[in-house]
Amino acid sequence: MWASINELKEKIHAGSSEEVVAEYLERIGRSKLNAFISTSGESAISRAKEIDANDIEGPLAGIPVAIKDNISTRCIQTTCASNILKGYVPPYDAHVIERLKKAGAVIIGKTNMDEFAMGTSTETSFYGATKNPWDMERVPGGSSGGSAAAVAGGEAPIALGSDTGGSVRCPASFCGVVGLKPTYGVISRYGLIAYANSLEQIGPFATSVRDVTTLFDVVAGYDPRDSTSVDKEVNYSSSLENNVKGLRIGVPEEYFGEGTDEKVEKAVRDSINTLEELGAKTTTVKMPHTKYALAAYYIIAMSEASSNLARFDGMRYGLRTEDSDWHTTFSQVRASGFGDEVKRRILLGTYALSAGYHDKYYLKALKVRTLIKQDFERAFKDVDVLITPTMPYPAFKLGEKIDDPISLYLADVDTVPINLAGVPSISVPCGFSGGLPIGLQIIGKHFDEATILRAAYTFEENTDFHTKRPEGM
């Protein structure tokens, strides 16, 4: 069932939140997408009843929401799609969950993802791969593939994911929905189980820019428990405007390089033309360090991961194997609990940080990160937004790339530079290739979500790609 937040509000007003929540749960129950790791049926229904009985108000009162399974939810299992956290029930809520509850939202389930958010296809999940609603033989993208597939498949009206190197925008692109990665620091990471904390942000999914903005407004805001949280309240819903007159668009040709599918390139260039016809001005910009972003990103992400995932020791939570001495138990817990891709990244990250290699890999990557950030700063002196493809091609087949890490990493070529620079970026549907959705990426300056949301909203108001739905769902 596909409905906007406003349509659902009317439905709740005429009927009840309980009915709406039950309808989504029923849909999830008979789904073949495997978008959810767990559903919170009983608690969702009882929360919906409570909202109905007490006329609880709020921007999301009674509205169902799906949550990526690396965001901590009190009393609801949170696994990061890993065996090592099977059965882990957080004793506290992430900041975004506190805010959602305050806004009246009803959590209907936890969505599938690549294990510890390490992937581009949602195939590394311990709980099985999620399928793309547009073609059940294809991946939904990743790592927030469950959240994107749930929204695209009509199993949740809105969802949260997290984006470390494209993990919101990639599945949004592959599943034909809208996904936003905010500026680093705008949404608190308190309760988000860390993968690479200098890069990641929680981000909203929906079928429209308006609903993404509503969800963004609810979850963003200052939180003293995240020391990188920025003291800035956001309210963009009230300022969404169908107007790009005078907007200066930069087109970095480096993002249309080798490996970009012809139909993707055409759809993106056509979309830029659409915005030009609506009054925007386009110029070509140079971002010469783009091709080094991927290697720098993976070195930094793996290094941070090797440190962050050291907490999984089987002592305080998670899987515990037969006790031996401390170090052996620690090593065996992790050997049994983590999947191959997580192990590979921990090993490479440890290597990149180890004595003798730190300067060659980690420090070098951090310096390249500076150059990439400067590319963005230079480009944004002359333009308001940058427009590129979100992904170089549409969704690939399940199993097609999973055995070849490099070919899978290369899929992230257009999304990782944004995380290295910490700027905001949104993916919106902009066309189809062989029946599969294509995503348009609109990138903005630090803290200038207002402009990318306005550009995305204007594009949406003047096109109908976001209204298309997969058949047979």
């Binding site: 200098s198 720098a296 002592m315 305080r316 939570y317 620690f330 090593s331 990493y409």
Partner: protein, 96 residues
């Protein structure tokens, strides 16, 4: 190039027990990724400072006081997911 011997050592540093089969399987894949990383050797980074964080944030301090708002857990909550506990403590295996 990572050798099989290197990988055993990195596995130990990472506290990841690796079987012979794992080492067999991982060595070529890790080397192909490391080989890709050498792309960065082409970039001139002379005099370029590293970026650890994108925002100009300095350390954030607060008073060292227990507060619910600071995210403190009760002992019961803190132990609620522990595989083994004893007398209100996490129970770990022996050190040696």
């Amino acid at each position: 190039m990572i050798t099989r011997k290197d990988l055993t050592h990195i596995g130990w540093l990472s506290r990841l027990e690796l079987s012979e089969k794992d080492i067999e399987k991982y060595t070529p894949k890790l080397n192909s990724v490391l080989d890709y990383f050498t792309e960065l050797d082409d970039v001139d980074t002379e005099g370029v400072p590293p970026t650890y964080h994108v925002l100009p944030l300095s350390n954030v301090f607060r008073e060292d006081e227990v507060s619910a708002q600071g995210g403190s857990l009760t002992q019961e909550e803190a132990l609620s997911n522990a595989p083994k506990t004893q007398d209100g403590f996490f129970k770990a295996p022996r050190m040696m």
